[in-house]
């Protein structure tokens, strides 16, 4: 095909879409920054601008504000940011993989699978007197996430119905949660308190050491996702079109499974299962961007998930202070209506 007459038509929607992407991305950044700042300042002890500024200088080292900031609030903020983003991206990968807008690490039971193995790992290591390591937690979570994923894949190979897949995932989730509770019931008293708050979902237990372990893993996974953006785009059209675009579908599927499992495993290892972020955030982002192109969705989902979890964590800490809510409680209350609204509207659009 030789370029004949130059076609100089304008496609305003194309430019609008790029503009929209940049605006939305900027908006998410601003949200995340503002919420991050609020997360640092507000709490049982409120810090003023001055105290905040001082804590970051040499002089402020050792002050109460410094301790609150660097030992409690900063690791928690980083955890909410990184893990929230990871969860949203994991949800997007799963939605693409199963071509199912309802898929997500929580509904498919992947989070619960990871929760089960992590609980088992923590109980075993604590009982034998070993220290729990970040690496061990992630490995245990990855194993559990992989096992759940395996079951879900078995189901998806047998049934083609998107609804049945989700129901099976939820069942796997219930099953794993029940077994986890069983283990916790028979664990040592001293461990129960820790395990219990973790198994409900909370960013409070994440230390700076955990973050140092987490951050590189998450960033590498995220880079991997972005490298997969192009084949994922072809895969969204269906398997036959993906093959016809020159995609190694089997290889892509394995990569998607590994990456989504790893991302949600990291979250569960340190924050426990966090509900609805994996479904609601990609849905919301897709609507704002008005595109499903992975190259735009992946970075946007990450930032949106991060901002969403920063907000949820802020609410979890402040709403009924000094009582702290579990993170899943807040994300469910915020996320479930979003999912319902979007799903019913989607039905209408297709009717």
């Amino acid at each position: 095909m030789t370029p004949s007459s130059p076609i100089s038509e304008n496609y305003p929607e194309q430019r609008k879409q790029t503009g929209r992407f940049l605006i939305v991305l900027l908006l998410f950044c601003v949200f995340a920054a503002v919420l991050g700042l609020l997360n640092l300042m507000l709490g049982s002890v409120s810090l003023s601008w001055q105290e905040l500024g001082q804590a970051f200088t040499e002089a402020g080292r050792g002050s109460t504000a410094y301790k609150i900031l660097f030992e409690i609030r900063l690791p928690r903020l980083l955890a909410a940011f990184l893990l929230g983003g990871a969860l949203a991206v994991s949800g997007f990968l799963l939605q693409t993989f199963f071509a199912n807008p309802l898929a997500g690490p929580f509904v498919l039971g992947i989070s619960s699978g990871a929760k089960l193995t992590v609980a088992l790992y923590m109980i075993c290591t604590l009982q034998t007197g070993f220290a729990v390591s970040s690496g061990g937690m992630i490995a245990a979570a990855f194993l559990g996430a992989g096992l759940s994923m395996g079951f879900v894949l078995l189901v998806s190979g047998r049934v083609r119905s998107a609804g049945i897949l989700i129901v099976c995932g939820i069942m796997i989730g219930y099953f794993c949660s029940a077994v986890t509770e069983l283990f916790i019931t028979f664990a040592d008293d001293s461990n129960i308190v820790n395990l219990h708050s973790w198994s409900q979902g909370s960013f409070s237990g994440v230390s700076m050491d955990n973050i140092r372990m987490l951050a590189p893993i998450l960033l590498v996974s995220l880079a991997g996702c972005i490298l997969l953006a192009k084949p994922m785009g072809a895969y969204q059209l269906g398997e036959l079109y993906a093959v016809n675009s020159g995609v190694h579908v089997a290889r892509l599927r394995i990569c998607l499974i590994l990456l989504s499992s790893l991302l949600s495993a990291c979250v569960t290892a340190f924050a426990g299962p966090v509900a609805f972020v994996g479904i609601a955030v990609p849905q919301l982002t897709r609507r704002l961007l008005r595109t499903d192109r992975p190259i735009r969705m992946i970075p946007a989902c990450f930032l949106a998930g991060a901002a969403f979890c920063l907000l949820a964590d802020l609410l979890a800490r402040l709403l009924f202070a000094p009582t702290e809510l579990s993170i899943s409680l807040v994300t469910s209350i915020l996320g479930a209506p979003v999912v319902i609204k979007i799903m019913t509207e989607r039905r209408l659009r297709h009717a």
């Binding site: 929607e13 192009k230 969204q236 269906g238 036959l240």
Partner: protein, 283 residues
């Protein structure tokens, strides 16, 4: 409409098992068949569906594959697309064995249009057409100005330029089919495989489809392999007809020679006389 350059050319009737297929003299380059199957057996896993199939498809030629459900029409197209690998025998795409080609090499030569259309949320017609450029873009899939030009030309050719900014999901079935054709053209193929492309279309769009298919073959010299249920449409659109039954080629040749009452009755196992009575065909 039909290729009438050589009215004296004998119609070829190929039965399964025969290896060589006589090509029409109108296509000068004997060797350069776009697609050639030699003694091809294919199917799912060990289950053989296509049973020793041989045929040749020349550049710019339209071949319609007809036959009862389960005869192997889709299997043939899926094997040709590289989605299934042959059990035995071989398929040649422009002279090279398809099983030795990489997926992206195949993608630059042939494109597919399937029965079930993708249903992406939030994808404009422009974006959908642009997915055809996939085999040509870089690691991140960013379109070059040349890619954009090709996409725009493809939309122009199928008269969907005006819909460029519309969301694909909001289109009618006929419009969607046009866009999927534009997408396959943007892939710059020499061969397009179409699996029952008219299934969901009403009569108006079916006629439109036949026109578009002929236009693509004529103007772009693209070969088309189309599996189709509508006999009348096959007759309108195809240069040659390939009749598949139980995974074997029952007959092949020019539509006039193939689409006789007796041949169709045998192909679809209908009792003699029924076809003509049901579907009154003016001959």
């Amino acid at each position: 409409m039909r290729n009438s350059a050589n009215p004296s050319m004998p119609d070829t009737n190929i039965h399964s098992g025969m290896k060589s297929v006589k090509e029409s003299a109108g296509h000068a380059q004997e060797a350069a068949a776009v697609l050639e199957a030699r003694d091809l057996c294919a199917g799912y896993g060990k289950k053989k569906i296509l049973d020793h199939i041989s045929f040749r498809l020349a550049a710019g030629e339209i071949m319609a594959v007809i036959g009862p459900n389960g005869a192997g029409k889709s299997t043939l197209l899926r094997t040709a697309a590289g989605f299934l690998s042959p059990i035995s025998g071989s398929l040649y795409l422009q002279g090279s064995d398809i099983s030795s080609m990489k997926p992206d090499q195949i993608a630059r030569v042939l494109s597919v249009v399937t029965t079930e259309r993708p249903d992406p949320e939030w994808m404009t017609v422009y974006e959908m057409t642009a997915t055809g450029r996939y085999p040509y873009t870089g690691r991140m899939g960013i379109l070059s100005p040349q890619d954009r030009q090709i996409v725009e030309e493809a939309m122009e050719l199928l008269s969907v330029s005006a819909l460029a900014d519309t969301y694909f999901s909001s289109l009618s079935d006929g419009q969607k089919q046009r866009v999927m054709l534009a997408r396959s053209i943007a892939q710059q193929p020499d061969l397009i495989l179409m699996d029952e492309p008219t299934s969901f279309l009403d009569i108006r769009y079916r006629l439109e489809f036949a026109e578009m298919a002929r236009m693509l073959a004529r103007e772009k010299d693209i070969a088309l392999l189309i599996s189709i249920h509508e006999i009348d449409l096959a007759e309108q659109v195809a240069d040659r007809i390939l009749c598949l039954k139980n995974g074997r080629i029952q007959a092949a040749g020019r539509p006039k020679a193939i689409l006789t009452d007796s041949c169709l009755e045998e192909l679809f196992d209908i009792s003699p006389g029924t076809y003509h009575n049901r579907y009154i065909r003016k001959t």
